[in-house]
């Protein structure tokens, strides 16, 4: 048996790669949401079910990465990013996948139909929220570059700009959400109240998707500000 040299064992797995992998899966998960809403708008319930299953599967895969990352992040790490902040980012990323799954789950389960007049607004809103998740992913993908530069210099600006863009996208989703709620309000009396209630809840969750993505950006800013 050959022992490992003590120098080697100093270099435990950096959390960055698993963090990026996790975000990758989480975003794949969110990517299915616009597809889901398109299928829902087309009243294609078989397709809705299929997409929801795909989302659930991806959410499971993301969970596995999350658990692995948590269990391999020992207490006494000496790293450029505080452990709590890494765990916090994972928690937020995880929320993106969970929200996506919850939305498709409830809508599939309740066979929710989106009223004709708001379909376009819904799809634009969902797409923009997913865009926010993607923008957060781009920033997460820069973490290894940040370590390479030692969190210094122009790489900070690059990431800072990405987060500014993320903020812009998040603001847009807020605007889209208001627009959608207003359009819903105008037609809500013509549909079953309970269905409307749940659609409002969905709108809230879609907005949350962008919110949480925005928070991921905020955490990255914290890492850089140290």
């Amino acid at each position: 048996m050959v022992r490992r040299s003590s120098i080697t064992s100093m270099f435990v797995g950096s959390p960055i790669k698993p963090l990026q992998l996790h975000m990758e899966k989480v975003c794949e998960c969110a990517d299915h949401l616009p597809l889901f809403f398109k299928a829902s708008a087309a009243k294609d319930s078989a397709e809705c079910k299929r997409v929801h299953k795909a989302i659930a599967k991806l959410e499971g895969a993301a969970d596995a990465i999350k658990i692995d990352l948590r269990s391999h992040l020992p207490n006494s790490l000496f790293m450029p990013m505080p452990r709590e902040q890494i765990l916090d980012i994972v928690r937020l990323q995880d929320k993106i996948a969970n929200i996506s799954q919850d939305i498709s789950g409830i809508m599939t389960g309740r066979k929710t139909e989106i009223p004709e007049p708001v379909i376009d607004l819904f799809i634009v809103f969902v797409q923009r929220s997913v865009d926010a998740a993607h923008q957060a992913k781009h920033a997460i993908n820069e973490l290894d570059e940040l370590v390479e530069t030692g969190f210094r210099g122009r790489q900070l600006e690059v990431v800072e700009n990405m987060i500014v863009t993320l903020e812009v996208i998040e603001k847009e989703t807020d605007k889209l959400e208001r627009k959608l709620r207003h359009a819903m309000f105008k037609i809500e009396k013509q549909y079953p109240p309970l269905d409307m209630m749940f659609l409002y809840r969905m709108i809230g969750w879609i907005g949350k998707l962008a919110d949480v993505s925005h928070q991921v950006g905020g955490r990255i800013q914290l890492l850089m500000a140290r």
Binding site: V2, R3, R4, S5, S6, I7, T8, S9, M10, F11, V12, G13, S14, P15, I16, K17, P74, S76, L77, F78, M79, P80, D144, E145, V147, E148, T149, G150, F151, R152, G153, R154, Q155
Partner: protein, 422 residues
């Protein structure tokens, strides 16, 4: 009492050579892998290249620059004048120290404890000196300096590595075109590596192999060595294939390729440094025994370390590397993903410079600890994804255990040898 030394002369020297080889073998088998860890881990060297570089430069370091530390181990820790009419005690003590340190290393390596060869042998010599000969026999001030250097060497390496890494950040990484900047500055870093190592070797090491030059000659030759390897390095950099596609996923891939060339030279430097410092752990005691026996009791404190003993130590290290050490080095390459060549370079050169300086002023220090210091220096500049704090703690704690263990074993063996030969 000279009669004991004369009648057993061949046995004493024979035992010293065997134990010294055993110790050198142990250094080559276990310690070299630590010295090469950052180089192989950053994937700048293949496993085979690492073993070849280690073999050549450990030997070169041992023979060309190992004399000063050997002298410290041989006569710096124990006050030979206090032996008076019983010089053979020093022979028993040195043999006991070699055996104690060698066995302790073997046991510790089997258990996977990161122990330092330097701490084992210094602990052993101090142990037998204080107990076997007497508290007055130990140069406590010198021992204090050595122990102090065990604290300051990782700090110094960390500081140099930190500054080196910050200079890379400023000059190369944080620029509009890191690849172009790397092409411009990496040859200069290569020059620095060559110049520093050559300079220290010539100023302090070469007198032990019978070459002496004045300061101007030293600077000239060191500069020539630096320029020579800089030209070789530049040629290697020109041959690198810069692939813009490679930067798509990780923007610094091509820049790191250029640093890979630098890492090759830095690996040579650390192998050289390790050879120059750690060879003494094996052959310092051997040369002490040989000196006493050959002068038949006249403890010559002035004679230089015979060249054949330096070769013996260097050869033993290479032997250890060839028989077992290459397997340990092979395990180093896997599992380090956080260490890119630019970081590996900063950490390793900081350590190499510190060790070579220590070799030049005759201080036996731990290569592993110094290298850990270098890695931490880069870590403090936020340059490494994650380092395991537990391992760092174990490495630094291990020498607190190693000193009494080495000392205790050496004392036992000392009295056994004393019993056998008298």
């Amino acid at each position: 009492m000279e009669s004991v030394l004369v009648s057993h002369a061949a046995i004493y020297i024979g035992l010293a050579v065997v134990f010294g080889l055993f110790m050198a073998w142990g250094i080559g088998a276990n310690d070299v892998a630590n010295a090469m860890g950052t180089s192989v881990g950053s994937k700048s060297l293949t496993f085979k290249q690492a073993v070849m570089i280690a073999a050549v430069f450990e030997l070169a370091g041992a023979v060309l620059a190992g004399g000063e530390v050997t002298a410290t181990i041989r006569k710096g820790i124990i006050d030979v004048s206090s032996l008076g009419s019983t010089p053979e005690l020093l022979v028993y003590g040195m043999l006991a120290s070699l055996l104690a340190a060698g066995i302790w290393l073997l046991v510790a390596s089997r258990q996977g404890w990161p122990v330092s060869t330097t701490h084992s042998i210094v602990g052993a010599i101090v142990g037998f000196g204080a107990v076997g000969i007497g508290m007055d026999a130990v140069h406590w001030d010198k021992v204090g300096t050595i122990v102090g250097s065990w604290v300051s060497s990782p700090l110094l390496a960390g500081t140099i590595s930190f500054l080196l890494f910050r200079s890379i950040q400023k000059l190369v990484i944080d620029t509009d075109n890191p690849v172009a900047m790397a092409k411009r500055y990496v040859p200069i870093y290569i020059f620095i590596v060559g110049f520093v190592i050559a300079m220290v070797t010539m100023v302090k090491g070469l007198k032990h192999v019978g070459i002496s030059m004045d300061m101007n000659q030293n600077i000239l030759v060191a500069a020539a060595v630096g320029v020579a390897i800089m030209l070789i390095g530049s040629a290697m950099i020109r041959r690198i294939n810069i692939d813009p596609d490679a930067d798509r996923d990780f923007h610094f891939t091509n820049m790191e390729k250029i640093f890979g060339v630098l890492m090759i030279f830095t690996a040579m430097a650390i192998a050289f440094a390790h050879g120059s410092n750690d060879v003494a752990n094996a052959i310092g005691p051997v040369s002490a025994v040989v000196a006493i026996v050959q002068s038949a009791g006249e403890i010559a404190s002035k004679s230089a370390t015979p060249a054949w003993i330096l070769w013996l130590g260097g050869g033993g290290i290479v032997l250890g590397l060839a028989t077992y050490g290459h397997k340990v080095i092979a395990t180093v390459g896997s599992g380090i993903t956080e260490l890119t060549p630019s970081r590996g370079f900063a950490a390793t050169l900081g350590a190499a410079v510190t060790i070579v300086l220590a070799s030049a002023i005759g201080l036996p220090i731990s290569t592993t600890h110094t290298l850990v210091g270098g890695v931490l220096g880069v870590g403090l500049a936020r340059g490494i994804g994650a380092l395991n704090g537990d391992v760092i703690k174990t490495i630094f704690m291990s020498w607190i255990v190693t000193l009494p263990a080495g000392a205790g074993l050496a004392i036992c063996f000392f009295f056994i040898f004393k019993g056998i030969f008298t």
